[in-house]
């Protein structure tokens, strides 16, 4: 098998960082700390590179071609740096205001339909659009879960009596949902762990160390 120097070096470097991260499960140590400091530098550089590319492509080049309006966001971006100057720190409020204003507008528009109206519609249709008795029962269970879960988040009444009972039922639904979410993520992370072990065994130990891949 042809040995590629860069592949072998990549396996060594990769294994170095994989093991560095994993050692944090044991306890804090200088090896982990070194890996962590290295990756901070690397990710900031990665982010800076991509963002600079965006600034050049989306602002500087178009500005040089006459799209002068783009000077505004570019200057707003520069204004964030006034945070570093004690007397002019307040200027940084302007870019924040533009970003939050746009963000809130986008949020309100997207949330009303997707997370409220459509959810209400789906709750009704789960019951009435069902074609079998089982689906209808499931639809009713979903509706009960939705309504009781909402009552759990009622804050202006103490959770006693009927509201208390409803909130308690809602909490059971919520717990099942949390358990299922945990399981979905746990099995995914298990796969990731196995993937790293395969890398360490097949690529690093067998390939780079023993040369038997």
């Amino acid at each position: 098998m042809k040995v590629n120097f860069w592949e072998i070096l990549g396996a060594w470097v990769g294994a170095f960082f994989v093991i560095s991260v994993m050692t944090m499960l044991w306890k804090d140590n200088p090896y982990f700390r070194f890996g962590q400091q290295a990756i901070i530098g690397a990710t900031i550089a990665h982010m800076v590179l991509f963002n600079m590319k965006n600034v050049i492509n989306m602002a500087l080049i178009p500005i040089s071609k006459g799209q002068l309006l783009l000077i505004i966001p570019f200057i707003l971006g520069l204004m964030t740096y006034t945070r570093l100057l004690k007397d002019y720190a307040w200027i940084a409020k302007y870019p924040t205001s533009v970003l939050v204003g746009v963000g809130v507008g986008v949020m309100i528009a997207g949330t009303l339909r997707g997370q409220i109206i459509d959810q209400v519609k789906a709750t009704v249709m789960d019951v009435f659009a069902a074609t079998t008795a089982t689906d209808t029962i499931n639809g009713v269970i979903i509706a009960v879960g939705t309504v009781t879960a909402i009552t759990f988040w009622i804050f202006t009444r103490e959770h006693t009596g009927a509201l208390g009972m409803s909130a308690k039922i809602g909490r059971v639904f919520l717990m099942i949902s949390l358990g299922a979410n945990w399981a979905g993520e746990e099995v995914w992370y298990l796969t990731q762990m196995i993937g790293r072990l395969i890398f360490l065994i097949e690529v690093f130990i067998k390939g780079a160390l023993l040369g038997i891949a």
């Binding site: 044991w26 979905g184 099995v187 995914w188 796969t191 196995i194």
Partner: protein, 283 residues
């Protein structure tokens, strides 16, 4: 790592075992099948069967568009899905348009196609049977734009060749030239993109591949709006089994089968401890 205190009963100690034992046990259990695979059986689920059927039922020469948005850090979870699916495409003489929607995905596409799937080994030629389009941050509006005007979003392929000069793309510029949309994503809520931009407006046949944790979000759309889906490496393995293309998923599945046992054992110990403390008195 646990705090020290007065002498504890057996029940208490069972509930307070140092987590590092759990970590170590799980690691050992995962390593065994990697060193010595067992080939434990796999049950193929309905969404995987639907997924496979949606592909193999297409007449030869049909065009599949692969909206590819995977991330390097998540390759372990998804590699089996990609490789098995792409092999099936080439085995069944389908034409494929790969378009990248995430920065990492172009790197993954090139690596997996060139080093593992190797379309040329199936007698497929670039530009005639498949094309690779570069990274563009599409999002939902970009998906909508792709469906209506491919050249507006991707004027060239990854090599800088204008689409008009690529034989396969000559007559394809929107959804009308696509027979199946294969949507690949890692952000769970993105499933709605394909429903809203491909299935609802154009009634396009769709399949999806995603992470294991996104399965719950995809399931409600199967089989009415999406013909099948693979969520996580487990379903990737199912496709490997179903299509007869063994790949990285088999070892993953074996290691998963064993790797989870450590956790289950500790859950059992935790509950024995709880019940023991409640009903057993001093252990």
């Amino acid at each position: 790592m646990q705090g020290k205190g007065p002498p504890r009963s057996l029940w208490e100690r069972l509930g307070e075992i140092d987590y590092r034992w759990l970590y170590a046990l799980s690691l050992v259990l995962m390593v065994i099948p990697i060193l010595r695979p067992f080939g434990l059986p796999t049950v193929v689920s309905e969404p995987t069967k639907g997924y496979y059927k949606a592909i193999v039922d297409l007449p030869p020469g049909s065009v599949v568009a692969v909206s590819f948005g995977s991330s390097l850090a998540l390759l372990d979870e998804q590699e089996a899905q990609f490789i098995a699916t792409w092999k099936v495409y080439f085995q069944h003489d389908l034409k494929v348009i790969f378009y990248c929607t995430y920065a990492d995905s172009m790197i993954i596409l090139n690596e997996e196609l060139d080093k593992i799937v190797k379309p040329e080994s199936y007698g497929k030629a670039y530009g005639v049977d498949y094309v690779r389009l570069p990274y563009a941050p599409l999002g939902e509006s970009g998906e909508a734009a792709f469906a209506t005007n491919i050249r507006g979003v991707y004027p060239t392929d990854i090599y800088g060749t204008p689409l008009d000069e690529i034989p396969m793309m000559k007559d394809i510029n929107d959804h009308r030239g696509i027979d199946l949309i294969h949507f690949q994503y890692t952000s769970c809520t993105d499933v709605e993109f394909v429903i809203r931009q491909w299935v609802v407006p154009y009634g396009k046949k769709a399949i999806i591949t995603t992470l294991g944790c996104c399965g719950p979000m995809a399931a409600p759309y199967y089989p009415t709006q999406i013909k099948g889906f693979l969520s996580g490496s487990g379903m990737g393995t199912e496709l490997e089994v179903l299509s007869g293309n063994p790949g990285p998923g088999a070892v993953m599945s074996d290691a998963k089968n064993l790797g989870i046992l450590g956790l289950l054992l500790f859950l059992l110990l935790g509950n024995i401890s709880y019940i023991g403390k409640k009903f057993g008195g001093k252990g």
